[in-house]
């Protein structure tokens, strides 16, 4: 596989995207940076990598960094991509941890944190909506993703259990058929 993107460029974009992805639902920022703003990946490729990252054990965001890095610039892309995502955030959190245990936070800081958390919900809502439009094209996909959403979200069923049950069902629904 030849590299799609120069390693230095990849580290730069991953580090910047990682650094500016405040709040939960970080994958949304990567979708925006690599699919919407740059022609590095198609939406379909991104969703494949996201799915693999979520199915393999480990924090899905760093797994996604590895999977996207490998796709864009091979094994070294995976290693450097993961480091570019992790190291800046880890250092910032270390600084905040130090402040938390040695100085403490004011109530105003806490409410600013809550405001940012709310904005993040709006961002991930829009991005997830875009991904649903690309990925959910037939009735099978709609029913499966809706069922998984209901089980893991509102019904609080154990995520690992839902994956173990849903993946075989989905594989059977999408099994290769001769002539198709």
């Amino acid at each position: 596989m030849s590299d799609r993107v120069r390693l230095s460029r990849l580290v730069q974009v991953f580090a910047w995207t990682g650094l500016t992805s405040l709040g939960g639902g970080r994958t949304a920022y990567f979708y925006d940076a690599l699919v919407m703003r740059r022609p590095w990946l198609t939406s379909h490729e991104f969703i494949q990598d996201l799915t693999i990252a979520q199915l393999l054990p480990g924090p899905s965001f760093s797994n996604l960094g590895v999977a996207l890095g490998v796709r864009l610039a091979g094994g070294r892309g995976g290693a450097w991509g993961a480091l570019a995502i992790l190291v800046p955030g880890a250092l910032i959190l270390l600084g905040l941890t130090w402040l938390y245990f040695h100085v403490g936070f004011t109530p105003k800081t806490t409410s600013a944190m809550h405001g940012m958390g709310a904005a993040v919900v709006g961002l991930v809502f829009v991005t997830t909506g875009r991904m649903i439009r690309t990925a959910v094209r037939d009735l099978r996909a709609l029913l499966l993703s809706a069922a998984i959403f209901l089980l893991v979200g509102p019904l609080h069923v154990n995520t690992a259990l839902v994956i173990v049950l849903a993946v075989p069902v989905s594989l059977w629904l999408y099994r290769p058929r001769s002539g198709s």
């Binding site: 941890t97 109530p107 809550h114 993703s145 849903a166």
Partner: protein, 174 residues
């Protein structure tokens, strides 16, 4: 001290292996281990650490920096982080590299198509879970709607919308 450091490393290592489908699913078990079993942080500190990790760049599971630092200072933070991210990153790299070579086989294409709805369902559930904690009253709903509007029009980098929302909330002290 050394024994407890080894326990810290081992605990984050096996917790990383049960992180499936995003970090949120592992939170209950993580809290049981670091709060109830080993007392590395209190329940209140754990919640604050989780909120901090939500609001700093990078994966939420960087909460291991917070717990590791409070338990054993810098060595604790470094070992907990390495245990959480390194082994699973290697597994992912090996599997995705080989997956690239298999991608054109019919069953591999079928598997990719089969996995997409699973990933989308999990992601939608993640948005739901985030919304449950992040949007709890009218002001937070308004901030979320503002950010969604900005993202939809896509003229402003997402981070600006988030920082602006933080500033508004800071002024209003919600």
């Amino acid at each position: 001290m050394i024994l407890d450091l080894a326990r810290l490393t081992w605990t984050f290592l096996w917790l990383s292996l049960i992180c499936v489908g995003g970090g949120l699913g592992v939170i209950p078990e993580l809290q049981r281990q670091v709060v109830d079993r080993y007392h590395w942080v209190t329940a209140r500190e754990f919640l604050d650490g989780y909120t901090l990790s939500q609001l700093t760049p990078g994966p939420t599971m960087l909460v291991c920096v917070f717990v590791g630092y409070h338990a054993h200072g810098l060595p604790g933070a470094a070992l907990a982080t390495a245990a959480m991210f390194l082994p699973t990153a290697i597994i992912t790299a090996v599997i995705t590299r080989h997956w690239g070579l298999l991608r054109d086989r019919p069953w591999a294409r079928a598997a990719e198509r089969a996995l997409a709805p699973v990933g989308i369902g999990l992601m939608a559930a993640g948005v739901y879970t985030l919304a449950r904690t992040g949007v709890h009253d009218w002001p937070s709903a308004a901030l979320a709607a503002m950010a969604a509007g900005v993202m939809f029009v896509r003229r402003v980098p997402p981070v600006l919308a988030v920082v602006a929302a933080g500033f508004i909330a800071w002024l209003a002290a919600l």
